[in-house]
Symmetry: C2
Subunit: 249 residues, 2 copies
């Protein structure tokens, strides 16, 4: 059985040990207003203290409500928050793309969707290097992906998948929530249906499968055959994101 209190303690120890052994001082976390970054923030607050944390909100043509939820997290744990609005940067980039030709919305869809997570990654690393310089201690970027998302490849290569330390990547969504309860992550954040704050649909709607079913699949639990095949396909289609084919002499 999953013991959320024990697991939380073990993750906190994992973070502390890594920080001590590598002489690291602080952390930068992209705070989306969703449960994953909320729980990661709670873990770091306990492990290294709020005074060594920087949260970053990274709106980009975004829903203003997400910023409110992000502030619930930083208010509760008491860490510093900064805001980098990526809307203009995104629009400027798109203007350069416009110069290449006339493309339909359908043709640009898959290209556009991954620009934001990549600009966000760029920003988090920018802040980590800047804080390392101004505070005189090393800041690293915390990953906020969970095991279910990783399994079906629901992340952007070179975007949210790039980080320096992963604390919840081996936890299912349900386990993340249970740890969030132990950490008192604000309810509005912890029980919100995960979404990217952009498209108006939830992550589960976009994926076409439920996170709970992904967890069941990973545990070999019984599952509707159609759902099973869908998860299998998503998983296999995304294996290439994990291992880059490399020529060896």
């Amino acid at each position: 059985m999953f013991n959320a209190k024990k697991e939380k303690d073990k993750i906190v120890k994992f973070i502390r040990d890594y920080y001590e052994n590598n002489n690291i001082g602080g952390v930068v976390i992209g705070i989306s207003g969703g449960k994953d970054s909320g729980v990661v923030a709670g873990l770091f607050a306990e492990a290294i203290g709020a005074e060594n944390m920087v949260g970053v909100t990274l709106p980009c043509h975004s829903n203003e409500n997400d910023k409110k939820d992000a502030l619930r997290v930083s208010d509760y744990y008491g860490f510093e928050m900064i805001d980098i609005d990526l809307t203009d940067t995104y629009d400027t980039f798109k203007k350069q793309i416009d110069k290449l030709g006339n493309f339909s919305e359908e043709e640009l869809k898959n290209s556009d969707i991954n620009v934001k997570p990549r600009l966000r990654m760029t920003s988090l690393y920018y802040i980590a290097a800047l804080y390392s310089a101004i505070k005189g201690k090393t800041y690293i970027v915390a990953g906020t992906g969970n095991k279910c998302e990783e399994f079906v490849g629901y992340f952007t290569k070179g975007g949210d998948s790039v980080s320096d330390i992963k604390t919840i990547a081996d936890l299912t969504v349900e386990e993340v929530i249970q740890i969030g309860e132990v950490l008192n992550v604000p309810e509005e954040v912890l029980y919100k249906a995960p979404n990217d704050g952009l498209s108006g649909t939830t992550d589960e709607q976009k994926l076409g499968v439920k996170y709970n079913d992904i967890a069941k699949y990973m545990n070999n639990e019984t599952l509707d055959e159609e759902v099973k095949q869908k998860i299998k396909r998503l998983h296999e289609a995304n294996l290439h994101k994990f291992e880059i084919p490399t020529y060896r002499k």
Copy 2:
């Protein structure tokens, strides 16, 4: 002994096999005007044909000469080139950063230096998804890093290190040049001292060690003790880029 002709043939076969087995149609390569991307372009031209290649120049407050050298490569192999100027995107991003406070150039140095490779990665993936949509076949992004750079961590995490296929990552700089000679990569490109096209200094000046010495170090050849220690330090300081510490239950 390293046989450049044989090795070239093996890499070409590696690319062809991967493309066939995974039903991939094209490639996107960031063409910097330097030897690495020149050689990678030559390899793909032979493996999949120039008609399935897109080269991208990604200037960002850049030296105009680099674009000339990039065009030497695309002219020689005959593949399509597109240009995405990232100068405005970079400047717009920096304007948002300016809003955070007044920082000195020294404080911003490490942050600024990594923005460009990350915007370049973002652009290459943008083009890969766009060409996949408009050409009706999958385009992937080719990596252009060599073994010496990888060994000392001379790359940007989430930047030039992100790619879908690596063809020269197991070759030293000297081996890359030898393969480039077999492929007839234009001389001006192949024998140019590697540089980032931004700072006016060569990569070797910035690193403080010579690529040849890195190759010697990797082969356990005799080397001045001071140089040896310097390479060892660079290598060890960059190991964290390869394996992200991850909490496991």
